[in-house]
């Protein structure tokens, strides 16, 4: 190790930005708020790039990883429990940091244009910087507990930003929903942490990994329980079945927030967490299988819902859930590097999709309904071309970024025996659906005639288009690193080797299959939404049951409402509210008050208000004292002394 990277600066710089803009932002001029908000992530990105240069040996000599910075004071020291406040930079966290600070910085720039006319400009950027702070803490954390701090923190930032337009009921409710659903997942995560602590006596990732590596025979059992608890936490944060329901509603937040938090970075925290604790999952094939099944099921489930949504951001939200399902599928077949690879490329093209959608929404005055768009290609050329790159990338066309990463996951799934082939097939169907709904969105926004002729769209300012162009370049070229090189780089962190197949040309054939289904999806979308837009409506009428089921998102919100939310609210209102609160606690309070009132009513009689009666009591008291002092009690009543001694306990 030569030199220090000062990685503690990476979280601290956004935090400083948050403090400045959060406390003084409302009193600072706008240009100063902007400067602070942009400098914080830029400087953090600079620190990351500096570290990356050293790691990759560009310009300077190569450094070895992992690189650890620990707070010398320690953090938690209770009895036998010692938890350090330490940041770890290794191959995995470096990739994540590059994505978070890099894409994060681009989205900050974009936000300057997007939010320029909004109320609460400083508040917005303060929260955005706060998010970067917690996210980098999450990624850099050297132990599970510190990761949990970041984990909770990004949840908080997410809540604050979803409810950014807090005057709107729907936004405030969406924020609450996101927070509460995440809390349910966090419950699983916490139980997992406690179990880790109980069984390993440490929460440091490297020590847990060392203990597990030392005992390769240790399989299943408690490890499965821990892994499933962690997975449950991950399903909350990463919007997987069964806790995905908050993400579509999270689209109530400003669009750049959806891009940064609810597409590119925060929601991938679950994937990162599984990759980070992969040793546990490697020791529990059952848990790994559950991860794969959850991922594949979510990918397909969310993709089907995305087919019929009409809100542009909701389509993208379900697409995000679906793509996260791919990443879980990758983790579930132990292809962690493929999952992280997809995480990176997804961050590029999904951030781009959201930002482009934001640009469209911005251009046509806040409209989000796809049915009211159309023919925007001529008005928004830059947005159109960048979004096209993103659509091709997510649909998985060669040579765009999504092609490489999605193929890596599908290939890895295919190699896992018969169950793996089933997972691969689900992934392939999802790829078809993905291609279809993305091109549906593409056709409905950019092609045909404008369905709202009264709107005069205008291209966005360059502060918004610049990030679009950069992200488009990344979406096109980001996959060319190739999974082999990426896996070789990531190997020290996730420790998995992709076994090559013995079947000749298998990978090539699978790739061709994936591109073919993507083409089919494009073709269907083309027929339905470009050539004969009426066909789509006819199809919806021909299959009313299926259409209604999808349009209402399988009624999952309603089912949860009826089975979980309503009973819980009823329990709170009647059992807790009336019986416990009003009955027990209120009754106790009334009892205390009643005793005071009753005894007061009796003692009140003493307070006659008659001066002479007071004086009489006074005189009587004085007489009693005199009597007690003057009368020689021991002679009058010989046993009195014993009585007094007994009473006073001497």
């Amino acid at each position: 190790m030569n030199g220090t990277f000062n990685i503690w600066l990476i979280p601290l710089l956004p935090f400083a930005g948050f403090m400045l803009n959060g406390i003084l932002g409302s009193r600072m001029p706008k240009w100063l708020v902007t400067t602070v908000a942009l400098l914080a992530p830029l400087a953090a990105f600079g620190v990351v790039v500096n570290a990356a240069r050293s790691v990759f040996g560009i310009g300077v000599s190569t450094s070895s990883l992992p690189y650890i910075e620990t707070c010398p004071m320690g953090w938690i020291n209770i009895g036998a429990l010692h938890i350090d406040f330490s940041f770890v930079l290794d191959q995995l966290s470096l990739v994540m940091l590059l994505v978070i600070t890099g894409v994060g910085f681009l989205i900050h720039i974009y936000s300057v244009g997007y939010m320029s006319h909004e109320e609460g400009y400083a508040r917005y950027f303060a929260f955005l910087n706060l998010f970067l702070f917690f996210m980098t803490v999450l990624v850099l954390a050297g132990n599970v507990l510190l990761m949990f701090v970041g984990w909770e923190g990004v949840g908080l930032a997410s809540y604050l930003l979803i409810g950014f337009y807090f005057q709107k009921d729907s936004a405030a409710n969406a924020g609450k929903k996101a927070f509460i659903v995440n809390r349910i997942g966090d419950f699983g995560f916490l139980i997992g942490i406690f179990l880790l602590l109980a069984n390993f006596g440490t929460l440091t990732f490297s020590e847990i990994a060392a203990k597990l590596t030392a005992s390769p025979a240790w399989q299943g059992g408690v490890l499965t329980t821990i892994a499933l608890c962690l997975l449950f936490g991950a399903t909350g944060k990463s919007a997987q079945l069964p806790l995905y329901i908050w993400l579509p509603d999270a689209m109530e937040g400003p669009t750049p927030v959806s891009a940064l938090i609810h597409a590119a970075t925060m929601v991938t925290a679950g994937v990162y967490m599984i990759a980070r604790t992969h040793v546990l999952f490697d020791h529990s094939p059952f848990a790994l299988g559950v991860v794969a099944i959850v991922g594949a099921a979510t990918a397909l489930f969310a993709a089907t819902i995305a087919l019929v949504q009409n809100d542009i951001k909701r389509v993208l939200a379900y697409s995000t859930i679906s793509q996260l399902g791919y990443m879980f599928l990758g983790c579930g077949v132990a292809a962690y590097s493929a999952a992280i690879f997809h995480l990176v490329t997804h961050a590029f093209f999904k951030a781009l999709l959201f930002l482009a959608a934001g640009s469209i929404i911005h251009a046509i005055g806040g409209e989000q309904d796809l049915r009211k768009m159309g023919g925007l290609r001529k008005h928004l050329p830059v947005t159109f071309w960048t979004m096209t790159a993103a659509v091709l990338a997510i649909a998985g066309f060669f040579p765009f970024a999504g092609f490489f990463s999605k193929d890596a996951i599908l290939y890895a799934a295919y190699l896992r025996g018969p169950g793996g082939i089933a997972l691969w097939f689900v992934g392939l169907v999802t790829a078809l659906l993905t291609s279809f709904y993305m091109f549906r969105l593409w056709y409905m926004t950019f092609f045909g005639e404008s369905r709202s002729p009264e709107i005069h769209p205008h291209e966005s300012p360059w502060s918004m288009l610049g990030p679009l162009v950069i992200l488009a370049l990344l979406s096109i070229g980001g996959g060319w690193i190739g999974i082999e090189r990426f896996a070789a780089y990531l190997w020290p962190s996730v420790g998995e080797r992709v076994a090559d197949s013995t079947i000749p040309h298998l990978e090539l054939n699978l790739s061709i299959a994936a591109v073919v289904v993507a083409l089919i999806g494009w073709f269907i979308a083309d027929r339905l939404y470009r050539e004969k837009p009426a066909h789509a409506a006819q199809m919806a009428e021909a299959l009313p049951g299926a259409y209604k089921l999808l349009a209402n998102k399988y009624y999952v919100d309603e089912i949860y409402g009826a089975t979980v939310v309503k009973p819980l609210l009823g329990f709170s209102k009647y059992a807790l509210g009336w019986v416990v609160d009003v009955g027990l606690l209120g009754g106790f309070a009334w009892l205390l008050g009643g005793i005071a009132l009753f005894s007061g009513a009796i003692l009140q009689r003493w307070q006659s208000g008659n001066l002479r009666s007071y004086a009489a009591w006074l005189a009587a008291g004085a007489a009693a004292v005199l009597l007690f002092v003057l009368v020689p009690w021991t002679t009058v009543w010989p046993d009195s002394m014993q009585l007094i001694l007994k009473v006073t306990g001497r």
Binding site: S608, G609, N610, L611, R612, A615, A616
Partner: protein, 106 residues
């Protein structure tokens, strides 16, 4: 010891003091007029003063006499404040009957 300067026994002084004090207490308890009540208080204070002086003379200690001055001083201050209150009460209520000055009662 000549006839004219015969020592009065200590007990007599104390008895007188006790009788005066009891009269004061009695007056305080049974009189209705506020001024009489006030005078009863003064009587009690002076009964105590008498016993102080007696003991001071008996034990040749000056402390008892000093205490008497303190009590007289406090009694004077009390008389000033007390009489002011009595006047204020009389102006407000047009009565000095103790039984009827019971506004503090709920």
């Amino acid at each position: 010891m000549n006839l004219f300067y015969q020592e009065v026994p200590l007990a007599w002084y104390l008895l007188l003091s006790a009788v005066l004090f009891s009269l004061g207490v009695l007056g305080f308890l049974i009189k209705r007029n506020l001024i009489t009540v006030f005078m009863s208080i003064e009587l009690m204070l002076n009964a105590v003063n008498l016993s102080f002086v007696t003991f001071a003379h008996q034990w040749h200690a000056v402390k008892g006499q000093i205490f008497v001055f303190f009590v007289m001083m406090v009694a004077a201050a009390e008389a000033a404040v007390g009489l002011a209150i009595i006047i204020a009460v009389f102006r407000a209520r047009a009565t000095l009957a103790v039984d009827r000055i019971d506004l503090m009662k709920l």
